[in-house]
């Protein structure tokens, strides 16, 4: 996990790596929006599989799959457990009791803690959403030259500082992981054993002492990178970003994806209107059913 090469984009001959930066950003945005719009667990699962399939397509190695699976499992487990415990909407079905109301102190304080079936389902749905975004984000990170994204963002008139900040974050992500490992090693060399105590003070001290040198280094590196980039003619005053021709095929893919997203929004709106009794066409019942099941 601390190996920086795990986080750095690796040039490869996959279609995703070779894709134009504009296509990547647009598709990433569409996937993220679709994950927010869609409520159906089965469609979310399909979208999730689609993103994982794209990872397979780029021939991600075992170490990257391990990281991806670890992150996905952690986020999914966290989402499902928290929702299962704290789901507050009705109806809800108790499937297990964690703390009975009669338990001394804790029972009276909490009024009992239960696991709710609806909470698990809702948590799974949210976990799929975050999993889709996480997997899609990592897909772009691992297969995109940060410079490509920076140029696209500036081409689209995004403020230079903001675009630089975003891409620098991406550029330094691998470095931060790598340097965290070095700092932890340095702490070990000095006899520091943070895990020997679970006191809050010790944990705060450990976090502070780990982050301090990393932050200082990242600030220095970011400044150097900014100076280097500006020295190569890229900066606030730039007004002549010329990108390579956007391939027609990729444009079409973006167009189709945009239409699909628009279709999702229209269908969702129609269903919402009929659900609230505002606009209802009996002839469209099959459409309403489709939305309920798939969207």
């Amino acid at each position: 996990m601390y190996d920086r090469t795990l986080w750095e984009p690796r040039p490869n001959d996959s279609l995703i790596y070779r894709m134009d930066g504009r296509t990547k950003i647009i598709l990433l945005g569409f996937i993220a929006l679709a994950a927010v719009i869609i409520d159906s667990p089965r469609s979310l699962l399909l979208l999730f599989w689609l993103v994982l399939f794209m990872h397979c397509w780029t021939k991600a190695d075992f170490a990257r799959w391990r990281i991806l699976i670890l992150f996905l499992l952690l986020s999914m487990w966290g989402g499902m457990v928290s929702q299962a415990l704290f789901y507050s909407q009705e109806p809800r079905t108790e499937i297990a009791c964690v703390i009975a109301p009669g338990t001394p102190v804790l029972g009276s304080l909490t009024g009992g803690v239960y696991l709710y079936r609806e909470g698990i389902l809702y948590g799974a749905q949210q976990a799929l959403r975050s999993g889709i975004m996480l997997a899609a984000g990592l897909l772009v990170c691992w297969n995109t030259d940060p410079r490509q994204l920076l140029r696209v963002m500036v081409y689209w008139r995004m403020p230079y500082e903001f675009a630089f900040m975003l891409t620098t974050g991406m550029r330094f992500l691998p470095v931060v992981f790598n340097e965290t490992a070095v700092v932890l090693t340095a702490q070990r060399l000095k006899g520091f054993k943070p895990m020997h105590s679970f006191s809050v003070n010790k944990m705060i001290q450990t976090a502070f002492q780990t982050l301090l040198p990393i932050l200082a280094r990242v600030l220095r590196r970011a400044e150097m990178l900014a100076l280097s980039v500006e020295s190569r003619g890229f900066g606030r005053g730039i007004n002549r970003i010329k990108l390579l021709k956007w391939p027609v095929g990729e444009k079409l893919v973006c167009l189709v994806a945009g239409c699909l997203l628009l279709g999702l929004v229209v269908l969702k709106t129609l269903n919402s209107l009929q659900y609230n009794g505002l606009v209802y066409f009996p002839a469209w019942n099959y459409l309403y059913s489709f939305v309920v099941i798939w969207i």
Binding site: R10, V182, A186, L189, T210, P213, L225, E230, S231, F234
Partner: protein, 568 residues
Amino acid sequence: MEHMIEVRGVSFTYASRTRPSLLNIDLQVPRGDFLLITGSTGCGKSTLLKMFNGLIPHACGGTMTGEVQVRGQSIHASPVAELSKIVGVMFQSPDDQIFSATAADEVAFILQNQGMEAEAIEQEVKLALAVVGLAGMENASVHALSGGQKQRLALAAILVARPEVLVLDEPISQLDPQGAQELLAVIYDLNQQHGMTVIIVEHRLHEVLPLCQHVAIMDQGQLVWQGTREQAFHQAQVFVRYGLRLPHTVDLCRRLGIKSPGASVTETVAVIQNTYGMLAAGMVRKWKPGKSIQAKMPQEQAIVEICDVGFQYEPKGRFILNKINLRIFKGQFIALMGKNGAGKSTLLQIISGLAEATAGQVSLHGKPLRSLVPEIGLVLQNPDLMLFNLTVEKELLFVLKQRRKLALKEEILPVLIQNFGLARLEQDFPLALSRGQRFRVAIAAALAVQPEVLLLDEPTTGQDIGHIRAVAQILKEYVKQGGTVVFCTHDTEVAAEYADRILVMQQGDILADTTPAELFCDEDILQAVGIRPPQITQLAKLLYSGSAVTVEEVAAYVRQNAVGTQAQ
């Protein structure tokens, strides 16, 4: 003569500081010049460089007075993007400035920013990569390149725009001698063959001085000396005054009180022979090596013993170390040399107990070593990542506290502060100190628990010779008091001057384990591992078939053996 760059009465104070970083600088750089700017760390060299392409005042906050003109154009009136067409700037660490995933993309960046068409860019990129010796590596991942290749890629990323001025900030500080040689050859060729004006900031003067035409020395924000290279050779005492490194040939002439002919070994030998009436090598009596170059051959038990140690990162991966056998004795000052990737850092990590050998055994005082122990200290390559406390004092006490030796505070702390020149810095934030000071704090912290063995990973990288000598003297003292030092370095002169034993590694094996004098006279090994002997060793060999490794030794020999009486 037309001036490519003209600096007139320039002072600059960073927004976050009260003291000026540059003070009344006047400098003219003629077209086609090769200018070396040098000075101790923090003297303002890098700040001055940032003015040449307008990063100061356009991108760095602060107050600037005076005028800088690039090809007659004021930097105040021209944006950085415009000046970058004339002046290409390359910074110190390639890892911090490389931005793209492939070599071709990195090189193409500046041309894309200048609005060049994609088809033309492709040709230019190929050409630039070929100039720096990376032809055919267009699609190589930047992460797969070696340190030297990355540095050359960073150079190609500037050269591709065909700047008239090439500005380089410590370009060889992180390279091994062979990598540095290759990069300097490219830069020299650009200057000589293509007439490119080169301005280079460097601490490794012994490698750059022979190539440059002019030299400027800075100290505390001021330009304290400037002149031609020949003038620099004749006024070597100026370099000594400012704690700068000289080529051995020049330093020897200075010590002998004769006029230096320059950095050439053969010319220096001829001048010494003429001046002192010495005979050519082979005709003089053989010089017997002095005590300083004889290896210590201790009889007692080794502190650290390494038996058949192998190491690999993955069970079926390649061996980083191949059945290494090594004994380290008390009071030794050992240099570990070899190309990048030879296994030096891994060996240090195994000795320290940080990494576990996958085969063989490491023993400390005869007992197997399986984890980190207070008896062995390790200073990592980047000391910044070893500093994580709010004050220098807390940093030094941290390790004592962790090892439950805080009772020794009164005894140890003042000595460390005194020896490492950290007086009046006790309450300063360690990461805000200068590079040399940060380095000294990291070593002082490692020595706080008085380890028996201190391991240092590349301690000379990016340090000026003043800092290196200061730390080396402290470590020498530590060795005299019974400590043992093992350090990795690419700097042959430092290894020759301070180490009493040198281990040369190649692809996970120890190729040589000998004294500096023997190693630097063994041409077969030197050639095999790409190490160039110190100039003084070559000179001693040529002058009297000797095997000296320090300037003092040769100077002493010449004084003792001179036919005349001109020795001083």
